[in-house]
Amino acid sequence: MSMNATLLGQAIWFALFVLFCMKLVWPPLVKALEERKQKIAEGLNAADRAERDLEQAQQKVSENLTEAKAKAAEIIEQANKRASQILEEAKVHARTEGERLIAKAQGEIEQEINQAREQLRKEVSVLALSGAEKVLGAEVNRDAHKQLLEQLAAEL
């Protein structure tokens, strides 16, 4: 257990291993640890940012949705208005058309009646004349009684 030159030998080992550790071992390990720390910090930051972005996006989505809903409601309202307007117009048009058709039909009927009456008049005068001939047993002069016949026809 005497003290001897082993002291020097161990001191050389010591210096050598500390030097190796300083040059070869410590820097890459600590660098890796630091880089990892930074990476983790960056990752956490990114996660935070993503969360914020998501929140913003959701907010925007809900805004857009509300806007779209409002627009849709407006469009539907307009469409309804337009539809009722068209309906109203159609109704008016149909009514006038109907009235016109009725008037036209009535005109035609009246004309027919007048025609029939005219013909009837003519036939009445002929019938009356032939009736009178039969009653009198002689020919009646049409021209002589023309005025009388016309008077008769006008009374019909």
Binding site: M1, S2, M3, N4, A5, T6, L7, L8, G9, Q10, A11, W13, F14, A15, L16, F17, V18, F20, C21, M22, L24, V25, W26, P27, P28, L29, V30, K31, A32, L33, E35, R36, Q38, K39
Partner: protein, 296 residues
């Protein structure tokens, strides 16, 4: 390996394999530790095979086993950590790299908590001390006769494998720490600052004459304080490891194969001591260097 008494067994197991210079007139031993009756004619470098040769050796002797094992374990530490360092990247670490990174992170946080200055050296230094001392202490968990037995079979008379049971090893490391303390002090305060710290404290006076008179007293006190740091650092580690090893060897000497009844619980307890002593050595180194680089 014939041991007549437990004392001899213990003494044998606490003797290092030593390569050193013996002076002329030292008795020569053969490989079985028996005296041959001859003496060395002139001073020679030999591997000691008996206590007579060992005792004749002066300062110029190397404990081959201690140095070999400490070098091997230090190289093992560097190799393992270097492999991890090569694989380390910012992505998800694998099991082995993760384990190494845990140790590095642990040491790094200890250094950051204690040492507030800027130094590229102190953290790797702390890591080296912690892992290396831990490995050197761990060797004692190998049963005491395994490696010396194998060494004896190879023809080596003495073989002590735990480097930290050798005070040369622990004190060498702690005196390296002393050199670093002095270096850090001078770097932080300059040579003048360092000298004034040694001479003008703790007793000081505004009277210049009294100040000069107090210098020797301060110097003695401060030098004692400065030297006490590495001595206590080295001896603490050595003492703990030596005591622990002694119990293992004692159990082996007295109980033979039944030593396991004592050695196993003692080894379990020593898992704690081994780690704790490595941690204390590292922590005190950081504290001393942190004190050295603080300005007063």
């Amino acid at each position: 390996m014939a041991y007549e008494t437990p004392q001899e067994y213990i003494k044998h197991h606490l003797t290092n394999l030593t390569y050193g210079k013996v002076p002329a007139g030292t008795p020569v031993c053969d490989s079985s530790a028996n005296l041959t009756g001859e003496t060395y004619q002139e001073s020679t470098w030999i591997v000691a095979t008996c206590y007579e040769e060992l005792e004749a050796m002066g300062f110029w002797a190397f404990h081959i086993d201690s140095l070999g094992w400490s070098g091997f374990l230090g190289a093992l530490f560097i190799l393992v950590f270097w492999l991890a360092a090569r694989k380390a990247q910012a992505g998800v670490p694998t099991g082995f790299v993760n384990f190494i990174e845990t140790i590095v992170d642990f040491v790094d946080s200890q250094v950051r908590d204690t040492f507030h200055g800027k130094s590229k050296m102190i953290a790797p230094l702390a890591l080296t001390i912690f892992c290396w001392v831990f490995l050197m202490n761990s060797v004692k968990l190998i049963p005491v006769d395994f490696v010396p037995g194998a060494a004896h079979w190879l023809g080596l008379e003495y073989f002590k494998i735990v480097p930290t049971v050798d005070p040369n090893i622990t004190l060498s490391m702690s005196f390296c720490v002393l050199l670093l303390i002095i270096g850090f002090s001078i770097k932080a305060k300059g040579v003048g600052g360092f000298i004034s710290e040694l001479t003008l404290q703790p007793f000081s006076s505004s009277n210049i004459v009294l100040k000069i008179i107090l210098i020797p007293l301060n110097l003695v006190l401060e030098l004692a304080a400065l030297l006490a740091k590495p001595v206590s650092l080295g001896l603490r580690l050595f003492g703990n490891m030596y005591a622990g090893e002694f119990v293992f060897i004692l159990a082996a000497a007295l109980m033979g194969v039944w030593q396991v009844a004592v050695a196993w619980p003692w080894a379990v307890f020593h898992l704690l001591v081994i780690t704790l002593q490595a941690f204390i050595f590292m922590m005190l180194t950081i504290v001393y260097l942190s004190l050295a680089s603080e300005k007063h």
